[in-house]
């Protein structure tokens, strides 16, 4: 597709930028309502304990304290929160319900006139705990003797299934080689700088609960209403709140239910802004915590025949959407490779750790890390170059659309071209020479390579895949475009954003179709009572879905304008030339109606409207994700996300032998996400994703002691990379448009994060290879590296 776009694909400053640069964003903590009260939380110090007694007497005596809410009251008044898998007896409430199941779980909520007073009062709440047996080891969770996190559920097994797609046993039997290994992705997450916050206000006169939240969560209004036992039309979520980063994590249902309940009970607006400890210990902040056991069967020429993947994920003490993060990778289970059969066994277990929520990529990054480790191991086994092993297995550009064994079709791609571009940009041959020279000088030096996929489009078919009782197949988004009497265009979107420049996205797409300057197009957000259906910015879906919806609505407006003009000129619509918002008769340019004239007819001149055309100038477009709409087959085959973007990472690392400290010195990412609607925005998210990946690979870990205490609960110990840890990053673009989307765009919100950990692990292991040592565990801290290399001579 070589259509020249006018606005799509061009450099354009975002609409959002000016307010953020000026410090005029509107984040939830910036919103204050009169008489607003503040919440602080009392959390459990134990990994598991029964709550015998809550004494609020002293707390209530603290000046300014308004209310002390225990789980006993709350859990009787609200419904348990939704679990993504079929485990109705794994119940979850915003506050512990009789038993606190992890250290940091919220036990009591204290409400006061100020946050400081709430914290003062929280200190005075007296809770009688009876410690109970606990387990924080994922592998021990399935032992018969393991303490049960939810005794009613009967085991610590939350989900398990064995998928077999294709002739796995035969392929393993026939292949010349096989190898197996374990890879560990320790618990980390994308931890935004803004914690989660929610403000709720109950309007008793209208019987509406108004909610402002720092939110990125599909069906947030619906789930909040349900839990509060309110009709959906009684909850109005305001999506025009700026969200200070989310990258998957800000699910916030429990916070909203807690605060909504308090607002309704107290008759005052109530606001909870997590402090960093509440956030890290008990918020929606934890991500995948996985052990992969991998087996791979391959030939002497490195052709991979089959894969066996066992993925054990330590979900923590409760289940929201987290177990589903084992399901999304099904849609790209073979990565970008031509692998004919796969056995996949996802296992989600409960332990007494903080409950996981969703993280950027929804499980794809850990899976890519395991896959890429397999590729590197094959190369090492055969003594073959790691790039060459990938070349031989990458799906070729003439093989698209490509159906993978688990039932998903990859839409388009030219993986070899992107890989070549990345290698060229990194100066691969010269990089090898640099590495070898460094090694000759006694240094540990390595080059890392990862080629992997970013599924995009958010067909969240892992929901029915992992829970047959949940027959959801609708994954939609929408946009309304209106042109007012003055001729100004407004696009209305129906969800909140956390830095993805969606306003700019909508304006660009609408402007492209209407041929009007995006800078002149206003974009606003509806609240949930007025909104059209949206499934939120998850799964790298908004460029595709919101972009498509915005373009769809704009197209209908354009068609209406053309119809109005055709009616004036008494001709067929095909005879109208539409240019820059003006319409003229083909071949007779003097017969022309300007934008303003068309607008005026639409709004005021009913007598000139074609029959059947509505007055005014507004159109909505609601659409389903392309290729979606089906339930999984009995073998668990399913078309997951419609589009697949591709990334090829090259990274050069040197490791200080004495301290084990790695230093990333060159980083190139080849990236193909089809047509980029706003290249700077896409690049920005890719750079950010790489930085997240650097954190996961080298620095970040939610580490637990043997007694179930979270050891990294502040930024002193949970180490987020700064501008000194993230090197200069270079992206080289390629464009293989998607045949499924409006402009050929693929989604790209998770870019960089999905391949960086794999690439960095590859680099570190390449550096350690001359010592015969490998690390297949993230994060690879200096201490870990030093432990593995100490005393090993070359």
């Amino acid at each position: 597709m070589t259509t020249a776009f006018r606005y799509v694909g061009k450099k354009r400053r975002t609409k959002e930028g000016p307010r953020f640069a000026a410090g005029r964003g509107r984040f939830v903590a910036d919103i204050a309502l009169p008489q607003m009260k503040h919440v602080a939380l009392v959390t459990s110090p134990y990994a598991c304990a029964r709550i015998d007694r809550v004494d609020a007497t002293q707390a209530l005596a603290v000046p300014g304290c308004v209310c002390v809410l225990s789980g006993e009251e709350l859990c009787a008044a609200v419904d348990p929160l939704l679990v993504g898998v079929d485990a109705p007896l794994v119940k979850r409430y915003p506050l512990a319900n009789g038993i606190a199941r992890y250290a940091g779980e919220w036990v009591v909520a204290v409400v006061a006139d100020s946050r400081a007073a709430a914290e003062d009062a929280a200190e005075k709440v007296q809770i009688g705990y009876q410690p109970l047996p606990y387990n924080v080891d994922a592998e021990k969770a399935l032992d018969a003797a393991a303490p049960l996190v939810h005794p009613e559920h009967g085991s610590n097994l939350l989900y398990r299934r064995q998928f077999v797609w294709g002739p796995v046993a035969e392929d393993f039997a026939r292949a010349a080689h096989r190898l197996s290994f374990r890879a560990r992705w320790h618990r980390s997450a994308t931890v935004p700088i803004e914690t989660f916050g929610v403000l709720a206000s109950w309007d008793a006169g209208r019987q509406i609960l108004d909610v402002w939240a720092s939110i990125q969560m599909p069906k947030f209004p619906d789930q909040t209403a349900r839990a509060l036992r309110l009709p959906g039309s009684a909850v109005r979520v305001h999506f025009d709140v700026d969200v200070g980063g989310s990258y998957g994590v800000k699910r916030g249902i429990k916070h909203a239910v807690l605060v909504g309940y308090l607002a309704k009970k107290l008759g005052f607006p109530v606001r909870l802004i997590e402090d960093r400890l509440e956030n890290m210990r008990g918020g929606d902040m934890h991500g995948p915590d996985r052990i992969f056991d991998m087996e791979v069967a391959f030939e002497a020429d490195a052709t991979i025949r089959s894969l066996k993947i066992r993925a054990l994920d330590d979900v923590g003490a409760y289940a929201g959407r987290a177990p589903l993060q084992l399901g999304k990778p099904v849609g790209a289970i073979v990565g970008p490779y031509r692998i004919g059969s796969v056995a996949y066994e996802p296992i989600a277990v409960l332990t007494n750790k903080t409950a996981q929520e969703a993280v950027r990529g929804f499980g794809q990054s850990p899976t890519n890390f395991a896959l890429e480790t397999a590729l590197d191991r094959i190369a090492r086994h055969l003594g073959m170059d790691r790039v060459e092993v990938r070349r031989r297995n990458l799906i070729r550009k003439d093989e698209f659309p490509y159906l993978i064994p688990s039932g998903t079709t990859y839409d388009s791609g030219d993986y070899h071209a992107v890989l070549d571009k990345a290698l060229a940009a990194a100066g691969y041959a010269e990089l090898l020479a640099t590495r070898d020279a460094a090694r000759a000088a006694g240094k540990l030096a390595g080059i890392g390579i990862a080629t992997c996929l970013e599924p995009s489009g958010g067909n969240s078919a892992f929901e029915p895949l992992f829970n047959p009782k949940n027959e959801t197949t609708t994954w939609m988004d929408s946009c309304l475009v209106r042109v007012d009497l003055s001729g100004s265009i407004t696009g209305v979107m129906n969800t909140s954003s956390a830095g993805q420049a969606h306003e700019t996205l909508v304006a660009t797409c609408v402007g492209e179709i209407l041929e009007r300057d995006p800078d002149s197009i206003r974009v606003v957000r509806a609240d949930s009572l007025v909104a059209l259906p949206s499934n939120s910015p998850v799964g790298s879906r908004m460029a595709i879905m919101l972009g498509g919806a915005a373009a769809g609505a704009a197209r209908k407006v354009r068609e209406r304008l053309i119809a109005i003009a055709a009616h004036q000129f008494e001709c067929a619509v095909e005879d109208i030339e539409y240019r820059d918002g003006h319409a003229s008769l083909k071949g007779a340019p003097a017969k022309r109606l300007s934008w303003d004239q068309l607008v005026e007819i639409a709004h005021r001149k009913f007598h000139l409207l074609p029959p059947g055309v509505e007055p005014g100038l507004q159109e909505k477009f609601v659409w389903q994700v392309p290729t979606g709409g089906m339930l999984p087959t009995p073998e668990g085959r399913i078309q997951m996300y419609p589009c697949t973007a591709f990334e090829a990472h090259l990274v050069y690392v040197e490791i200080d032998r004495d301290s084990g400290r790695p230093s990333l010195q060159r980083y190139v990412c080849g990236h193909d996400c089809g047509v980029m609607i706003n290249p700077q925005v896409v690049h920005g998210m890719t750079y950010g994703g790489i930085a997240h990946g650097i954190g996961a690979a080298l620095y970040e870990r939610f580490a637990y002691s043997d007694t179930g205490q979270l050891q990294s609960q502040t930024f002193m110990d949970y180490l987020i990379p700064s501008a000194m840890e993230v090197p200069a990053l270079r992206i080289v673009d390629h464009c293989t448009p998607s045949p499924l989307t409006t402009f050929g765009q693929k989604g790209s919100g998770e870019a960089g994060y999905l391949g960086a950990p794999a690439a960095i692990a590859s680099a570190v292991n390449d550096a350690l290879a001359p010592l015969g040592v490998a690390i297949d565990e993230l994060p690879m801290t200096p201490h870990e590296i030093w432990q593995r290399t100490r005393g090993v001579r070359r």
């Binding site: 700088i193 750079y687 950010g688 502040t714 501008a723 993230v726």
Partner: protein
């Protein structure tokens, strides 16, 4: 009732007088009392830098200072860095030009740190820019376009 202390703090060029409890931090004063919500709170432990403001023209972490400590001093927040007519400064505009911001949460602190750098060093190297913003954590941008913004601003101000 908590004891209150009278303070007079110059914020963005204007003297603000207030009676404040001793334990109110400077960032909470700026946000909740002065209603300058551009300065953000990310950790309250002095690590993330989102709360950075200029204190007597030097960048500091306002979550680690009590508001009364600013009595008689000059504080400049991101809102005070715009031009006198309210238009964005060269630095703020450069952030928009290079897309050095996404969610906007770390941005005010970044701009404060970058502003201080450029006041002292007209032509910083890339390494100097990175060192100057090393105390400001960002999770959206990977820092690349932020560094580009600061270098662009430096070149534009020459």
């Amino acid at each position: 009732m908590e004891k209150k202390h009278a303070v007079a703090i110059e914020v963005n060029g204007k003297i603000l007088r207030a009676e404040l409890p001793a334990r109110l931090t400077l960032v909470d004063f700026l946000r909740d009392e002065a209603r300058l919500t551009g300065t953000h709170v990310g950790c309250e432990h002095g690590i993330c830098g989102a709360c950075s403001v200029l204190f007597d023209a030097q960048p500091i972490r306002s979550c680690l200072m009590f508001a009364w400590q600013a009595d008689g001093h000059r504080v400049t927040t991101v809102e005070g860095l715009a031009n006198a007519d309210g238009s964005p400064s060269v630095l703020q505009d450069s952030f928009c030009e290079t897309h050095g911001l996404q969610c906007g949460y770390c941005t005010p602190g970044m701009i404060v740190a970058a502003h201080a750098l450029l006041e002292e060093n007209r032509a910083p190297s890339e390494a100097e820019v990175r060192a100057a913003i090393a105390g400001n954590l960002c999770r959206c941008t990977g820092y690349q376009q932020i560094v580009d913004a600061v270098l662009l601003a430096a070149s534009r101000k020459k």
